[in-house]
């Protein structure tokens, strides 16, 4: 494993209006690694990816990618950096008015002056890598969920990025497609020598393919480690998360006033001290 850090989060805080999402996150990710960021729904995992992509800016701290602090870049520099990044959106986000082929060719046509014959070869190669060379003529509406995500994956690696980000790549897939996407992430990372960041809450699938795991809870990194360490972890939160227990450190109930009070049940005088 390479030790040179590609991405560094230093005391990153972020807030949507008054709502504090991240409260001082520290992370490093090295080149060639597949890193998973796990956490409950709404814990700010996706925000981490958007910070790396420069879509939003941290309220405090810095996010640096390949030595550049993302929020200090001007628009032109940011776009240059983004060309070296790929992002797989939750549901693929394929351009619905373009065929699978044109979707994959999109970035090549926008950013390069390659001749159309070469673009054709490159696109077919990328589609071949995800096993969908035969589906190049289909429109996104004709693709199944798993296929759409594979085309989207081919599209995001079109320009051989140094960094791939996956936003919930496993959501809503059947077990076979899920396995396919998982192994694709691992193999493409190794073959292209890039770094992959997975934001997911699919524990079992991701633990099989990642090198390192960060757990995000309440806006901070609650736990981290290799898959082995995580599986052995005795931390109550990690344990609950890995084994999918209903109640634990993460309560089943959203914060609320007492149940009895909500239902307007006047507690009998004798029980006034209770709850």
């Amino acid at each position: 494993m390479a030790t040179e850090p590609l991405i560094e989060f230093k005391d990153v805080s972020f807030a949507y209006g008054a709502k504090q999402i991240l409260k001082g996150v520290n992370m490093t990710m090295s080149r060639g690694q597949v890193v998973a960021i796990m956490g409950g729904s709404g814990s700010g995992k996706t925000t981490l990816l958007r910070l790396i992509g420069g879509e939003v800016q941290p309220s405090a701290g810095t996010v640096s990618v390949a030595g550049q602090v993302v929020h200090q870049l001007n628009r032109k520099q940011l776009f240059r950096l983004r060309r070296k990044m790929g992002m797989l959106f939750q549901f693929g986000a394929l351009f619905t008015d373009l065929s699978a082929f044109d979707n994959v060719a999109f970035q090549m046509r926008e950013h390069t002056n390659l001749p159309e014959t070469m673009i054709r070869d490159l696109v077919l190669m990328k589609l071949h890598a995800v096993g969908l060379r035969g589906a190049h003529h289909l429109m996104p509406a004709e693709l199944s969920g798993g296929m759409a995500r594979r085309v989207a994956l081919a599209r995001s690696i079109a320009l051989d990025p140094m960094l791939m980000m996956y936003d919930e790549p496993f959501t809503g897939l059947d077990p076979i497609s899920l396995g396919v996407i998982g192994s694709l992430i691992r193999h493409l990372t190794d073959a292209l020598g890039m770094t992959s960041i997975l934001v997911t809450h699919d524990v079992q699938e991701s633990l099989q393919i990642v090198d390192y795991v960060y757990f995000l809870a309440d806006g901070v990194i609650a736990a981290q480690g290799t898959p082995e360490e995580v599986r052995q972890s005795k931390m109550p939160f990690v344990h609950q998360f890995i084994h999918g227990e209903v109640d634990g450190p993460v309560p089943f109930h959203y914060q609320a006033q007492s149940y009895a009070k909500d239902l307007n049940m006047v507690a009998p005088a004798g029980a006034a001290t209770e709850s």
Binding site: F79, R80, F89, A93, T96
Partner: protein, 265 residues
């Protein structure tokens, strides 16, 4: 009691501040679209595609409506004018009302509901399905790639559609009054040509439709880009596009007319 008045005033203030804020957002977005337009002119294929969707696909409704509006104008105009024995002026009536007002305004209203709403829905859905975000992450500016071509296609299509609407309307009026009723063909055309001035009537009508084109497409792309990324968000934005466009067209028409035809007989 006083509390109610205060909350009432607060509600008004809230609305006003919200409205002004949105107007500011829209203006800023409009400027952004203009700034990002040059690349889309270099790739004219993008605009051609959008002209197809905004202009060509609106053609049927524009032509058919134009024909009927002209026919009704001819019929009503004839009914009234013949009482004064001036039925040969029906051509003037049809042409002037179409060229000055009805052509640009009705074509713009139809364009807003046919093409403007489609534009909003398309951009709104692209936003809701993260296509715009994906484009941004691929270092392609969605404003330059998606919004600007649509905007210019709309601006370009609107005057052409309005002109076709007007021609169809005049033809409809001709059909009803000359062919069906039997008004003299020569006086129909000559009185019309005598009354309709190229500079004051036709050019002003075209200028009007250009303004409407800018207003409709600016509203449509802004609402689409600004739509909350949910199903209700997109449908609400689509409705707002049609309503706001209609009000803007009619309000603008009054202002433009006041400027153009003031002091002119």
């Amino acid at each position: 009691m006083i509390k109610h008045i205060v909350t009432g005033i607060q509600a008004v203030g809230h609305r006003v501040i919200d409205g002004v804020w949105r107007l500011g957002c829209a203006s800023r977005f409009f400027l952004l679209v203009l700034l990002n337009s040059p690349p889309s002119f270099l790739r004219f294929g993008l605009i051609t595609r959008e002209i197809y969707f905004a202009g060509v696909l609106s053609l049927v409704i524009i032509l058919v409506s134009g024909l009927f509006v002209g026919m009704v104008l001819g019929l009503q105009g004839y009914e009234t004018l013949q009482k004064f024995g001036a039925e040969s002026a029906v051509g003037t009536l049809v042409a002037l009302s179409l060229v000055r007002e009805l052509g640009p305004v009705i074509a713009a209203l139809l364009f807003a509901s046919r093409a403007g709403s489609a534009m909003t829905a398309e951009i709104g859905l692209m936003k809701a399905t993260e296509q715009l975000a994906a484009m941004g992450m691929m270092a392609v500016d969605p404003v330059a790639r998606v919004v600007a071509p649509r905007f210019w296609a709309g601006v370009f299509s609107m005057p052409l559609l309005a002109a076709m609407f007007t021609v169809m309307g005049v033809f409809g009026g001709y059909l009803v009054t000359v062919i069906f009723i039997g008004v003299d063909e020569g006086s129909f055309w000559s009185q019309m040509q005598d009354a309709v001035d190229f500079r004051y009537d036709i050019v002003n009508g075209v200028i009007k439709s250009c303004f409407f084109g800018v207003a409709i497409t600016a509203i449509a792309v802004f609402e689409g880009f600004d739509a909350p990324p949910t199903a209700e968000g997109v449908s609400g934005a689509t409705t707002r596009t049609v309503v706001t466009s209609a009000l803007t067209i009619l309000g603008m028409d009054f202002v433009l007319t006041a400027f153009m035809f003031r002091g002119v007989s």
